[in-house]
């Protein structure tokens, strides 16, 4: 081991604590970084506020602009209340996926400012910077969902299942958001500027969230798109949330194409989210190890 005993500034050497167990260190480091990111969110409230305005705008626009013209299978034509109930799970799900952009921009900014270099030179867990960021994003997402749910209640959305079902629905939404923030983390490590991370984190979200069951029933889509939409991981969570909120119309078929995820949306939602986390977390942590600011 080291024979170096003299220390910076002539202080008595502060012994660096012995390495603690891998998991314990990993969790503690992640929480330290998460706290840092949460403090940032409090000090830059604009980010949270803009993050709220967009989904609220979507709720209002979809409900009042499209609402009257979209027919929900199993409900009377032009039934605005039926669409409101149909729509909300979709808006909730789309909102949670926007965590991608936040995580990406945040990590790209840290790279840009040299903070990732600093973290990488510290004896901390290799995944903690990214885990801390995604955990902080999870808190922000939860906060956004709460506000959005209140808005939804105000415009007439109602859940018809028991509280356990509703909470499970929100839990699945949060899990999806957490999964997507890992995609954002990988994007943030791969691009050169925070701006690129923001747009890189958003552009593909539009086709992903629109070619789905989130905003309109898939019945009206061309057959090819119906297949895409029903196998879309995003659709699984939307369908699961709808089911858990009791926002489905009784008697309407769950799936148009007979896709397995639509027949078992809750299980499919969990599987998709876990797969996304496993895949993108692995890639992102690997990328972090060799990250070059």
């Amino acid at each position: 081991m080291t024979t170096v005993t003299r220390t910076a500034g002539g202080d008595a050497h502060i012994r660096t604590p012995q390495p603690r167990g891998g998991l314990g260190r990993s969790i503690r480091d992640s929480l330290v970084v998460a706290k840092r990111n949460l403090i940032r969110m409090i000090r830059i409230p604009e980010v949270v506020i803009f993050g709220l305005i967009q989904p609220i705008m979507f709720v209002v626009l979809f409900t009042y602009v499209f609402g009257g013209s979209i027919n929900i299978p199993g409900a009377p034509a032009g039934n605005a209340q039926a669409y409101r109930e149909f729509l909300m799970a979709g808006i909730f799900a789309q909102t949670v996926t926007f965590a991608t952009a936040g995580a990406g921009a945040g990590i790209a900014d840290d790279m840009h400012k040299g903070l990732i270099d600093r973290f990488r030179s510290l004896p901390m867990s290799r995944g903690a910077v990214l885990t801390g960021r995604t955990l902080a994003d999870l808190v922000q997402t939860a906060l956004t969902l709460v506000v959005l749910a209140v808005v939804a209640l105000l415009i007439g959305w109602r859940a018809h299942e028991n509280i356990a079902g509703v909470l499970s629905g929100f839990a699945l939404l949060l899990l999806l958001g957490y999964a997507f923030s890992w995609i954002g983390a990988l994007i943030g490590l791969s691009v050169r500027t925070p701006e690129a991370a923001t747009s890189g984190g958003l552009i593909w979200l539009f086709p992903l969230t629109f070619i789905s069951n989130a905003f309109v029933p898939v019945d009206g889509m061309p057959t090819f798109l119906q297949h895409v939409a029903e196998w879309n991981p995003f659709s699984a969570t939307v369908a699961a949330a709808r089911e858990l909120f009791g926002n489905t119309i009784g008697g309407a078929p769950k799936s148009v194409t007979g896709a397995w995820p639509m027949e078992h949306p809750v299980l499919a939602s969990v599987i998709w989210s876990v797969l996304i986390i496993a895949f993108f977390r692995t890639l992102a942590v690997r990328k972090y190890r060799s990250a070059t600011a």
Binding site: G9, G10, G114, D117, R118, M124, T193
Partner: protein, 364 residues
């Protein structure tokens, strides 16, 4: 026994660029190595390899007795890094920044808090401790960054161009801080483009260009390689140049130079201050009025020019001027550049930082 920082045959290429082309280093414990070189010379790449941030293609590196490639996590416990850009979170307060870094060095929350308070006082940030770093001046941010690198009192420190972009007053203040550290026995590797900085802070200096160490030694040794001391005289009136020249030849140890337009004469000498006094008496006796006279020793800039054929601030890649952001973007482009960020107004600062003796060297 290898020193606190030891490297052997480090090679790192980015595409076609050999950022490190076989670098050997050996920094004895408790000393300061100044790594001197222009932008793109490979200084930052060397620091990144030694601080575990970058894997070399080839070579060996040992820091604080620990193999960098085999046990990077152990190395990280024993080093502090202060990079080119003050790497602090600008939305956290100075105190929060230091506590966070302490906790990530695996200190307990209470130890981290206590240590943060100590460092804030020591770096004169006590009054600003609970303001966000966004409100700090450039000099304060650098001090905070340096404090963050010192949280665990690491035995080995790396500072990558610590004063780049600072105004002269803040640079001076930071030098004082660094000198204090060094007095405490820390082993330090310091990269710099400022010759004066290396001269002032480093025990040993290595000059790096194109990824290679092209010279090493103490400041005095390097200067001795370039040539000895010389007397420079500026006479008051042009008519006196020829008399002064005659006087100087009497004392000189070689060919002198004359720059008539500024009435300046230079001649190599040996004998130091005693000789200078004699020169002054003789000039006075001959009725030569003097505006300025002095004994000049070669500066590190002279050394750099004689070693590399170009001045320290000259950039082989062709004047990548502009702000730090430009350099940083280049760095991100994989395989395109060795990745030395451009110092904000580096050339101008370097020129300002060196002694006036530079100009005469080439002719001498």
């Amino acid at each position: 026994m290898p020193g606190a920082i030891y490297a052997e045959g480090l090679v790192k290429t980015f595409g076609d660029v050999r950022a490190l082309d076989g670098v050997d280093l050996d920094v004895p414990e408790g000393t300061v190595l100044g790594m001197l070189g222009p932008n793109g010379a490979g200084k930052t790449t060397a620091v990144r390899v030694l601080t575990t941030l970058l894997q070399p293609d080839r070579g060996k590196a040992v820091v604080a007795g620990i193999d960098v490639l085999a046990h990077p996590d152990q190395v990280r416990r024993s080093i502090g890094l202060s990079g080119q850009f003050a790497a602090v979170d600008e939305y956290l307060t100075g105190r929060e920044n230091l506590i966070m870094v302490g906790q990530l060095y695996q200190m307990s929350g209470r130890d981290a808090k206590r240590r943060a308070a100590e460092l804030l006082e020591r770096f004169h940030l006590g009054d600003a401790a609970d303001r966000t770093a966004k409100t700090y001046s450039g000099g304060m941010r650098r001090r905070l960054d340096l404090a963050a690198a010192l949280v665990v009192s690491p035995p080995v420190m790396f500072m990558d161009e610590p004063t780049t972009g600072l105004d002269p007053r803040n640079r001076q203040a930071l030098w004082d801080v660094i000198q204090e550290l060094v007095a405490g026995g820390t082993t330090l590797l310091l990269t710099t483009q400022y010759l004066e900085e290396a001269d002032r802070l480093a025990h040993d200096i290595c000059v790096v260009d194109h990824g290679k160490v092209i010279a090493r030694g103490t400041s005095d040794q390097l200067k001795a390689r370039t040539g000895g001391e010389r007397v420079e005289v500026v006479v008051h009136a042009s008519e006196h140049i020829s008399i002064a020249d005659e006087v100087l030849r009497g004392f000189g140890k070689g060919e002198g130079t004359i720059e008539p337009h500024i009435r300046k004469l230079t001649i190599p000498v040996t004998g130091g201050a005693k000789l200078l006094a004699e020169v002054i008496r003789e000039l006075d006796a001959r009725g030569v009025e003097i505006d300025d006279i002095g004994l000049r020793r070669p500066t590190l800039d002279d050394v750099f020019i004689s070693l590399t054929g170009h001045a320290a601030e000259a950039d082989e890649n062709g004047g990548k001027g502009g702000g730090g952001a430009v350099g940083r973007q280049k760095k991100g482009r994989k395989g395109a550049e060795p990745g030395e960020p451009v110092a904000p107004s580096g050339a101008a600062d370097a020129a300002e930082a060196v002694d006036a003796g530079v100009t005469t060297n080439k002719e001498a």
